[in-house]
Amino acid sequence: MTTATTGRTTVKGAVGTAHTRVEGRDKVTGAARYAGEIPFADLAHGWLVLSTVARGRIRSVETGPVLDMPGVLTVLHHGNAPRLTTDYVGMLGIPDPTAALFQHDRVPHVGWPVALVVAETPEQAREAAEALVVTYEREPHDTALVAAHPDAYAADGHMPAVTEKGDLEAELAASAHVVDAEYTTPEEHHSMMEPHAATARWDGGRLEIVDSNQGASWVQSELAKLFSLDESAVRVRSEHVGGGFGSKGVRAHQVSAAMAATTLQRPVRVVLTRRQMFSLTGYRSPTVQRVRLGADPDGRLRALEHRSLNQTSTVYEFVEPSAGVARVMYDADAHRTANHVVRLDVPSPTWMRAPGEAPGSFALEAALDELAERCGVDPIDLRLRNEPETGPVSGLPFAGRNLAACFREGARRFGWADRDPRPGLRRDGRWLLGTGTAAASFFAGAGPSTALVTAEADGGFTVRIAAADIGTGARTALTLVAADALEVTPERVRVRIGDSDFGPAMIAGGSMGTRSWAWAVTAAARELRERLALGTDIPPEGITVRSDTTEALGALAQKERHSYGAQFAEVAVDTATGEVRVRRMLGIFAAGTIVNPLTARNQLVGGMTWGISMALHEEAVRDRNTGGHYGPDLAGYHVATHADVPLVEADWVEDHDPDDPVGIKGVGEIGIVGAAAAIANAVWHATGVRHRSLPIRPDRVLSAGTGASRA
């Protein structure tokens, strides 16, 4: 038995100091094992079979010939699969029936799972899956999102569908300058590098799932409900996760693996193929947005209207709340925002990095740039003139709104003061050059979490929390947070995550992960430190304190809590080929306390890189005739690669959430917000042409020409 205290000398200051990732060595040596890489004895392999029609019914699944193929163990389909419970409300609402596999014969979109073939080896499973004949009764389908779709309706999702105040038409009529424009964004896919993978097995009466997800305790709870099991009878582990971006929740891979493991009573692994991911793992819906702005001669807004339409599936209502960003950013005498959806014969969309804010900020911040041009006001000045005192819709006070500081610092570093606002003037050989800016905001929230912090007999500390490190650096950030709360050096702290046995915790999503988990870790660590300060003896099993932040979060004052940012971009446009290249980007953010500058900067730059990708490259195109995608893979769906990404810099201004124990706001999503708008605004500055549809493809640039050539 040892008597250990946290140390007589107070150690602080881990938070805010750059720290390489605690699992970094494992990642650079290949030792870090992801979900599909944990060995299991007697492992069988499942391969999903997806529908080839966009709407209809399954007439037959001809399993006979396939069951005779070498190595095939079973074929699961709607006629023989275990029954699931779907009438429940989970942590994030009612479940998307997309994950409730093989429960009926209806087909709601191309790429709907219709069977799982399980075999001894992956090669056998794949060949048998490709040989499986499924016949359908086809019905006519509609997969095209159009602006005036007759079936569109206003929908709430996670926020009210419509907000309005004042007389919009009257204020527009009284405005000196009006912008009225439609903006569109395409279907976009998360495309994280690690495909969804899960291995399921029954072990001592417990269903064990090794998975790739954004919240082990969340997936555990959902699977327990789906399979009508007690939560304690399900364990989900997810130690290393190869990216998520909103897509790694309860999906076909875990559910089908669990079904097959139950049926066969042996471990079964299901790994989605890259092409399957395009229909099974969610995506960002295309949007059609209309923004109307009315302003006084000096740019002060009298009227602001932002309407958005997105598509959802026929089985689940998902709202991409693009109009929500206007509720935070700008006030006007008349203010109206509305989110609409239309149900089509397509897969269910889902959260994707900055859901709502990413497409919404493209439309709103591009419209602001158009208004600045009309008013003859600098785009930054225009935004600063419209800074609200309180939440434009809520009327609530802001928990810090450091947007102006971001613009001041960004303008200084980017060299904005020297900018000639006139478009189409700057040339570098065959390239036209331009610069653009845009504002960013993202909600700073937190979700209830539990954490366990143990003082070990050897003088170390172990933190256990069902957090997920999907590339965010959460494991390292929590190490630093725990070290400061315990007042020890980070080397004495070991953080274990990604195991539902550690108790309920917030998911890695909504930029809320690190803040939510850090709160729970801080609470437990502080209480432990107080106990140890009494000079308590530490028994061999250690002393453990458990925290639960449910009550503290419930008592949190209602405020407008957001991160903010100012985005700057310089682009070059080749007028002969239509190619747009980003030459440099700078983002300055006010995102609360930065726990680990090394990883936070990387994550912010990553978000901005997504902005480049969104502005110029990403677009999943659906064939109206088949209802499926053209080229659903990484050759057909382009994401930015090395050569597309110049020196992108991210930095931050002093910021702090006064009501958070660590002051965190979150950095996961703010980096993409406004980034595409800054690039589109720079393309206008280069060419004199407004591009209101993303991505800004070469053919669009060529067919639009330049302001100069049209004059």
Binding site: V28, E37, M193, H240, G607, V648
Partner: protein, 188 residues
């Protein structure tokens, strides 16, 4: 266990990271699946399984290759280097160390492929190979300066969806500088 050799399987020996691995493989098995599913060398990642993302990059006879597009049976007799073969004991390869120090990754799933590619890029550049952005491609011009633009061009077969390109390029540049100094010292 499948028969050693049959109409569907062959007994082969793979030479990986200097070690010999005898195994019987299904003829359909890719080199990538042989590494991951048969030999427990899971450091090589499967991102797309169709040669589009670079996550499965390994070195075959010193040159980079996407292992998902190679059949295991065709890799016999070749020298294969995977991410597990980069470090010397506890000492990381300079490229690995630079990725670690400069945070040249986020989720880590593309990382082994990025590192294998970077190791080969530095060798290819040192050997005088031009790229699509090299201005002077005459053999007598010698290797062009390994600028950020050159690194980006040469690394573009390796996708990183987290968007860690900026720090990856910095890590490759740092490792290349270290490599150049070592080469100079060796020749001095």
């Amino acid at each position: 266990m499948a028969p050693a050799s049959s109409s569907t399987h062959s007994a082969i020996t793979l030479n990986i990271n200097g070690e010999k691995y005898p195994l019987s493989v299904d003829h359909r098995t890719t080199l990538l699946d042989a590494l991951r599913e048969r030999l427990d060398l899971t450091g090589t990642k499967k991102g797309c399984d169709q040669g589009q993302c670079g996550a499965c990059t390994v070195l075959i006879d010193g040159r980079r290759a996407v292992s998902c597009l190679h059949l295991a049976v065709a890799a016999e007799g070749r020298e294969i280097t995977t991410i597990e073969g980069m470090a010397e004991g506890d000492r990381l390869h300079p490229v690995q160390q630079a990725f670690l120090d400069l945070d040249g990754y986020q989720c880590g799933y593309c990382t082994p492929g990025q590192i294998c590619s970077a190791v080969a890029v530095i060798e290819e550049h040192a050997a005088g190979w031009p790229s699509a952005v090299t201005d002077d491609v005459r053999p007598e011009a010698g290797p062009p300066p390994l600028t950020a633009e050159e690194i980006r061009e040469r690394m573009s077969g390796n996708l990183c969806r987290c968007g860690a390109y900026v720090s990856i390029v910095q890590a490759v540049a740092r490792a290349a500088e270290a490599h150049e100094e070592t080469t100079k010292e060796a020749s001095a």
